[in-house]
């Protein structure tokens, strides 16, 4: 059974990508038997290129994707260089970790309320400081340059990259390298940048590529904050796919292909950027400057990282206040009255969506944990770790624009006649949950001392029993944490639920984004709160279960992941 786990895992990761590609590649060239087109033509491509503002949409996708990734890297590395191995760093890590489980959509919704002209920031200083009793007519949210969208993406991706960096740091020998650099008289930041960063970066390449792929093709963040006339390419592809005119499906498929090209171009551009930064870096190293006085830069790194926390936390707090607000009009900083009406009158429906979200997340997470454990156990039994190539396979679904892959799958499902159900959606989530579960568990599993298993074998336990009685209990905290990460990823999925659920499968995330276009901030607040509560439940279980199970085994408490 365990022997087949790797094959199965690779099938789950790569199968949908290939199927999704096939599903859009054929209609993009005019072939779609389900719509009665059985010949190939180039007209969908031509129609796509004739779409007004197409190139502006493409430029927007490239710009927002690359800019947000560059800023994310800059903030993360600044902070790491200035503060790793300090006490402040551990505090910040604790602050940033929960942000990882906040769905993109919820973060974007919170930011929208925070920074819009009628939002919280302007309300806090009005009218006493600004003299405004009306919101200023400023284009802040949905701005044509996508600044609001970039801000949300950066605030959401910095925690992700930082935690990825923390996992990779031990393998770079960072502590000793920094010591050597400092003993040569380099400042803290320069020492990190010259000695540690090059090694660290090569480990972070794949997560960064995943960030580029996500941010060049995001739909939910773009819907809530992004430009509208025209919208980024991914949003327009979704619109074409949902157009009442079925002929638009062909244009949508061509658009989905173009989206892959755009994301690919962004990745290539990033590679070029790496080269340039590398050249500048080498030049800087050979200049011999020591940069001893880096206090201001260090402070900037800390402030920027802290800003990410503050922005998201304040936005979410604003939404939570809205969910219990009575009448709340500009420029009041707080509601005139509070009431639980929103919660009372929507509780029944919210509970249903809550259960659906929970069920989908549970199915996807269980399958992901099962497959991951199978793969890792297989490694342990064969006593060898896989090469780097296998790890890059884990990232394949994260490199492909979601919108392209999912529409391909949808067209295939339509052709084969698979109905949209909770199970279909859960399987689609699995493709995106599995990589994160694998990443979250692999390192700590591989770090487990193999001598425990040897002792078990010497005492006569077979591989099955060694797994059940030795490896799994020792790894339980790590397994549960990985599961909680996977569950949080599932809760945050917007597009897979929307596309493969065909509107019949509704979760708290799809509901929150759907409502964001509406006028009822109270309801948006309610669903955003639910979006935050769900991952919290997962992480709470991950903390409590080992604490209860192993309450009388003090040594286990040291084996924290």
């Amino acid at each position: 059974m365990v022997r087949f786990a790797p094959t199965l895992t690779i099938a789950v990761l790569i199968g949908p990508v290939i199927a999704g590609l096939a599903g859009i590649a054929l209609p993009a060239f005019g072939y779609l038997p389900a719509l009665g087109r059985t010949s190939f033509s180039l007209s969908p491509i031509a129609d796509l290129l004739a779409m007004p503002g197409l190139w502006r949409s493409v430029r927007l996708s490239l710009w927002t994707g690359l800019a947000s990734t560059a800023i994310t890297c800059a903030v993360t590395f600044l902070f790491l260089a200035g503060w790793s191995q300090t006490r402040a760093f551990h505090w910040m890590r604790r602050l940033l970790s929960p942000l990882l489980s906040v769905p993109h959509a919820a973060a974007a919704l919170g930011l929208a309320f925070l920074i819009s002209p009628s939002g919280w920031l302007v309300r806090l200083v009005s009218p006493w400081a600004t003299g405004l009793d009306r919101p200023p007519d400023l284009l802040i949210v949905h701005d044509p340059a996508g600044i609001a969208m970039i801000t949300a993406l950066v605030a959401k991706e910095v925690p992700f990259l930082l935690l990825m960096a923390l996992a990779a740091l031990p393998q770079t020998d960072a502590t000793r390298l920094s010591h050597v650099a400092e003993s040569f008289g380099y400042g803290r930041m320069a020492g990190f940048a010259y000695a540690v960063l090059p090694r660290l970066y090569s480990q972070l390449r794949l997560p960064i590529f995943a960030i580029i792929a996500f941010s060049t093709s995001t739909v939910d963040v773009a819907l809530v904050l992004g430009p509208t006339l025209p919208a980024p390419l991914a949003v327009r592809v979704v619109d074409w796919m949902n157009d009442p005119d079925l002929g638009r499906r062909f244009i949508a498929s061509a658009g989905a292909l173009l989206q892959i090209t755009v994301t690919g171009t962004a990745l290539l551009a990033w590679l070029g950027l790496e080269k340039i930064v590398g050249l500048i870096g080498r030049h800087a190293i050979s200049s011999g400057k020591r940069y001893r006085r880096d206090g201001v830069t260090r402070l900037a790194g800390a402030s920027l990282a802290l800003l990410c926390v503050v922005v998201i936390a304040a936005g979410l707090a604003g939404l939570a206040v809205w969910s219990v607000a009575g009448f709340w009009r500009f420029p009041d900083a707080l509601p005139a009255t509070f009431s639980l009406d929103t919660w009372k009158s929507n509780w029944a429906e919210a509970a249903t969506l809550f259960r659906t979200t929970l069920a989908i997340g549970a199915i996807a997470t269980l399958l992901a944990v099962f497959l991951t454990l199978g793969c890792l156990e297989n490694e342990s039994r064969r006593g060898r770790a896989p090469g780097k190539g296998t790890l890059s396979l884990v990232f394949v679904p994260l490199m492909m624009p979601q919108v392209s892959m999912l529409f391909g799958l949808q067209i295939l499902f339509l052709t084969v006649g698979l109905p949209p159900t909770v199970t279909t959606v859960a399987l689609a989530h699995l493709v995106f949950v599995l990589p994160y579960v694998f990443l979250a568990l692999a390192d700590s599993w591989r770090a487990l001392d193999p001598r425990y298993a040897m002792v078990a074998a010497a005492l006569g336990a077979g591989p099955e029993r060694t797994f059940r009685r030795v490896r799994l209990p020792m790894m339980l905290p790590a397994v549960l944490t990985a599961a909680a990460v996977g569950f949080a990823v599932s809760v945050g999925q917007y597009l897979p639920t929307l596309v493969l659920g065909a509107g019949r499968v509704v979760t708290v995330t799809t509901e929150a984004v759907a409502l964001s276009a509406g006028g009822n901030r109270r309801l948006v607040g309610l669903f955003a709160v639910l979006q935050m509560v769900l991952p919290l439940i997962g992480f709470t279980i991950a903390l409590l279960v080992p604490a209860v199970l192993f309450r009388n085994r003090s040594a286990f408490r040291l084996a924290r992941p």
């Binding site: 590649a25 719509l35 007004p52 502006r56 007519d137 509208t228 006339l229 500009f330 509107g503």
Partner: protein, 410 residues
């Protein structure tokens, strides 16, 4: 890779061929005249009702209806919340093309206008006409509410059942604005004096479209052409005044017209946040309902333009390939019942005007309908008059297309 694709495609086609081969003929059409049997057949059915889900008050009303249907007829009504109902129309069309003549995704659909026209044209509706054979049809006011049987100039012939009435109404806050603009020219002057304080939802949103249609019926040089399908020889001269007018508005629109609210609800939120001074809605009771809900201050008042505004009815229809036709029929009939219509018309719930003739109802049912005249945030029937007719659906498509050309990419 290529061989893999070929295998994949062959498999998909096989599956499709298999799926088509086992499909039975289209599901049976119930005999509406034998209502007792329709109700019997409906028991235990699940009805997937595709309806726009962007308004919490409407969603709550549909939830109420679902609970009643469950208790009275054993029908499970599932509200599939749709962003744009055109998506559901395209779903039914895709099913038809794929040869899925039964077990369709959609059992009941909330439509009117161009979506009805599209479904009628592509034979996506259950035939023969059934709405005028429903038991509750006798209460419908076909006399004074001609839009209950003529949808955007197209006779409905019983292919859809009227559900409610709508009319374009503007909102202002009487505490902020003394004298709201009651003509299109006054609106231009108003936005010039208050730059950034007016906008309209982005077409193809239905309210954005309705605003464009209001301009069309008011400004068209020859309004006669609007009751017929678009013909190329009058297209340009008819649309030009509309976009000339929008050009007069645009420099002073909210955010200078660089972005637009996505729908009616977002437009109302801007109004609630004081970002705009004038809002619009397609439901005359919207203001009173929003005040009840603490979404708007109680000084908000609705008004219509001099010379009247566009009005229509909205309907529910049954797709040809629904597997729950009896359940859908019973649902449509229940939505027409005096009780369901009265609760729908209550501004505290939804405030959607009734399609029934209240004066002709049995006295006991008349008392269900609250007196609207007492509410300062409601307009009486005489204040709403005259109601202007919708143009032929083909004009809506032309307006959408032209708007995208002009403003879709700034």
């Amino acid at each position: 890779m290529v061989t893999f694709l070929k295998i994949l495609l062959a498999k998909a086609l096989l599956a499709l061929a298999f799926a088509v081969s086992i499909l039975p003929a289209a599901s049976e059409v119930p005999n509406v005249a034998d209502w007792e049997n329709v109700e019997k057949a409906a028991e235990g059915q699940t009805v997937y009702f595709h309806a726009w889900g962007g308004e919490p008050r409407i969603n709550a009303y549909i939830r109420w209806a679902a609970a009643e249907l469950k208790a009275r007829y054993g029908i499970e009504l599932v509200h599939v919340k749709v962003d744009d109902i055109a998506q559901s129309v395209s779903q039914v069309l895709a099913e038809k093309i794929a040869g899925r003549n039964r077990a369709g995704e959609v059992d009941l659909i909330w439509i009117n206008g161009e979506n009805f026209a599209a479904m009628r044209e592509n034979n996506l509706l259950m035939r023969p006409g059934w709405a005028d054979k429903l038991p509750n049809w006798r209460y419908v006011d076909t006399e004074d509410k001609p839009t209950t049987t003529v949808d955007f100039t197209i006779p409905t012939k019983g292919l859809e059942s009227p559900w409610g009435m709508a009319q374009l109404v503007f909102l202002y806050d009487s505490a902020q604005v003394e004298d709201p603009p009651r003509t299109l020219d006054a609106l231009v002057d108003f936005v010039a004096a208050n730059p950034g304080r007016f906008t309209y939802p982005q077409p193809p949103d239905f309210l954005g479209n309705t605003f464009l249609k209001q301009l069309l019926v008011t400004l068209a040089p020859d309004p006669e052409v609007l009751s017929r399908p678009v013909s190329d020889d009058v297209l340009d001269e008819t649309l030009t005044p509309v976009f000339d007018y929008l050009e007069r508005l645009r420099p002073n629109l909210w955010r200078r017209g660089q972005t637009y609210p996505r729908n009616v609800a977002e437009n109302r939120r801007l109004f609630a946040d004081s970002e705009v001074e004038i809002a619009m809605t397609f439901n005359p009771a919207d203001a009173s309902a929003a005040i009840e809900n603490k979404e708007l201050p109680d000084t908000v008042r609705p008004y219509v333009l001099d010379g009247g505004t566009i009005g229509n009815s909205h309907f529910v229809a049954i797709p040809f390939n629904s597997d729950a036709k009896p359940g859908a029929l019973v649902t449509a009939n229940f939505l027409l019942s005096p009780e369901a219509q009265a609760i729908k018309a209550d501004p505290r719930i939804w405030g959607d005007p009734t399609v029934l003739n209240v004066a002709e109802l049995p006295v006991i049912d008349q008392t269900l309908f609250a007196d609207a005249d007492e509410n300062p945030a409601m307009l009486s029937a005489s204040e709403l008059a005259p109601t202007l007719s919708e143009p032929h659906p083909s004009w809506t498509e032309e307006l959408e297309r032209a708007w995208l050309e002009h403003y879709g990419t700034n």
